[in-house]
């Protein structure tokens, strides 16, 4: 393993210290428990948006802390959900009186830790709602299983909800908006190489010189199918077709019910897309893939969307949700409406995304 690190156990901590030194105007970093929060938080009256998850996906989430996006991010160890005390401390730090929305990716670890944090927060009289992101179409059935993973749609939801919070939406409105974004977003990824977790020191999985792994997640977990290496166009077609052909996905998720004062099961189904729908197309690099290759993918994706009668009205191309040094990419398509477009375009100023300001 060759990496620009010191001791593997200091990887997350030292990277965060670097962020704190680099962006004192945007964010502050707190240790024990660890979280990153907006320099000016709490913003009085504003709903606070908090996310978190394992590290190794940078810039997600700490790179998105700032104006118009996240109020706090809770980084776990590499590929390991953060712990409830981090999430609780972050919520307390950024609570401006408008309540807190936890945006949670659907992995058992993240779900359980955020559930515990939500319970702890309510026990301390904080107003917290939490919404799950589960947009990875590579995971097929949901009945009786963990269901789909949260991937690319996560950061689109963070941007859109962050803008809504900035514009004065209330907690319930933002939770509803976040759920809607999730139901309208679909993703799928491919790996050309495995990532190497610093603490492990060897690649998580072995891929032959001519093999790729289709349908991977963002933690180096194996995908749904191993196949021989293909051209960029063929790969784009497989990913895009999986997304296009995904039928109305249904699942039961647990959401906090403010009236009941506890978690309840909620049944949700993705709406179907229709020709003429407007999309945000997001081509994401996994960390070890050069930007030029992502544009080659985007070129084919745009072509395929046109053929399908979908209109790409916004796009995002770059390595925004990564899996350490993995080579590969993922595609996320989000069906937009006027409100989402307006919120997507709203100003954002974070370490990684900045526009309109």
């Amino acid at each position: 393993m060759k990496k620009l690190i010191n001791r593997p156990e200091d990887f997350v901590r030292e990277s965060l210290i670097g962020m704190a030194k680099a962006h004192p105007d945007l964010l502050k970093v707190q240790f024990e428990p660890t979280f990153v929060y907006r320099a000016v938080a709490p913003v009085p009256g504003k709903v606070a948006i908090v996310s978190g998850g394992g590290s190794g996906h940078e810039p997600m989430h700490a790179g998105f802390v700032g104006l118009g996006m996240l109020d706090a991010a809770c980084p776990g160890e590499v590929f390991t959900s953060p712990t409830p005390d981090q999430m609780l401390a972050a919520a307390k730090q950024v609570d401006g009186g408008g309540g807190i929305l936890y945006i949670v990716k659907n992995y058992s670890g993240d779900v359980m830790n955020f559930e515990m944090a939500t319970e702890l927060a309510h026990a301390e009289d904080l107003r917290v709602l939490s919404i799950l992101i589960d947009d990875d179409v590579a995971v097929k059935d949901s009945l009786y299983t963990q269901g789909r993973r949260g991937v690319g749609t996560t950061i689109l939801a963070e941007k859109i909800c962050g803008a809504a919070a900035e514009q004065g939406y209330d907690l319930q409105q933002i939770a509803d908006l976040c759920r809607r974004v999730n139901l309208h977003g679909r993703s799928m990824g491919v790996a050309l190489t495995s990532c190497t977790v610093p603490a492990k020191g060897t690649p998580t999985f072995e891929l032959g010189a001519n093999e790729i792994e289709m349908g991977i997640g963002i933690h180096g977990e194996p995908g749904c199918e191993r196949m021989s290496i293909k051209s960029a166009d063929e790969i784009t077609e497989i990913l895009a077709t999986s997304i296009f052909e995904d039928v109305a996905y249904s699942r039961t998720v647990r959401e906090w019910d403010e009236n009941k004062g506890g978690f309840v099961d909620v049944q949700l189904t993705d709406p179907e897309w229709e020709k003429g729908d407007r999309l945000l197309a997001f081509v994401n690099g996994m960390g070890g893939t050069p930007l030029a290759e992502l544009y080659i993918i985007y070129r084919k994706l745009a072509e395929l969307c046109e053929q399908q009668g979908w209109q790409i009205v916004r796009n995002l191309i770059g390595s925004h949700i990564t899996s350490l040094d993995m080579q590969g990419c993922s595609i996320t398509l989000l069906k937009l409406d006027d409100e989402m477009i307006r919120l997507w375009d709203a100003p954002v100023k974070t370490a990684s995304w900045r526009w309109g300001i």
Binding site: D85, G109, A199
Partner: protein, 215 residues
């Protein structure tokens, strides 16, 4: 009677077993998960092991609760809340105790299992730690109910945990990260079930060994 010292030895023993099997557990997780189960567990249990001497003055319930808090705030991932819930609920089953009767031991393990079930919502055969934990607890309870000794019960429970662990091999995962693999999770042993087996085995070693020494 299981003494507080034995509980402390158990935790110490489990921490050592995790440390010894760190790579192995991580390797199992690499195959069907994200290659960190051993790393996660070791991070938490090293912390537990380092704090054990501080816990020694507390009663058993408080010790278990402290262990739970340490795990919840240092393990993360899926195993953090699950092991955290195990020890948290176990602690509430033995409040105020300085030593544990056979019935106390049954309550402790049953409560722990319930904690994991409630937190993780997994069922038997979902290819999770439940597949080792549930048969172990059921067997322990049953052998105690048959009037046998703690050591007999825990030895049988260890056998049951091991069988349960191995039984995860042919299963299709339904919960946790391995569930994304669908059928490709077949023929792999679940890392969480493996660490649970180590936990039960550690308890057995401590109880059997002290039996030998106290004989």
């Amino acid at each position: 009677m299981v003494t507080k010292e034995q509980i402390l030895q158990w935790l110490q023993q489990f921490a050592s077993a995790i440390a010894q099997n760190k790579e192995y557990l991580t390797q199992l997780d690499a195959a069907i998960g994200d290659a960190d189960h051993g790393i996660n567990m070791d991070r938490g249990f090293q912390k537990v092991a380092n704090q054990l001497s501080n816990f020694a003055a507390q009663d058993i319930s408080s010790i278990l609760k402290s262990v739970s808090m340490t795990l919840i705030s240092s393990v993360g991932g899926a195993s953090g809340p699950l092991y955290g819930s195990f020890f948290l609920r176990a602690s509430t089953a033995v409040i105020g105790k300085q030593e544990l009767s056979n019935e106390d031991m049954v309550s402790l393990l049953q409560a722990g299992l319930d904690g994991v079930l409630q937190r993780g919502k997994a069922q038997l055969s979902d290819k999770t730690m439940i597949d080792a934990l549930s048969p172990a607890v059921t067997t322990f309870t049953q052998i105690i109910r048959e009037g046998k000794t703690t050591t007999e019960a825990i030895q049988q429970a260890t056998v049951a945990a091991e069988q349960g662990m191995k039984a995860t091999i042919p299963m299709v995962a339904k919960k946790g990260r391995a569930s994304y693999l669908g059928d490709r999770s077949i023929n792999r042993q679940d890392p969480g079930a493996t660490s649970v087996y180590l936990m039960i085995q550690s308890l057995s070693e401590v109880l059997v060994e002290s039996l030998v020494t106290s004989d």
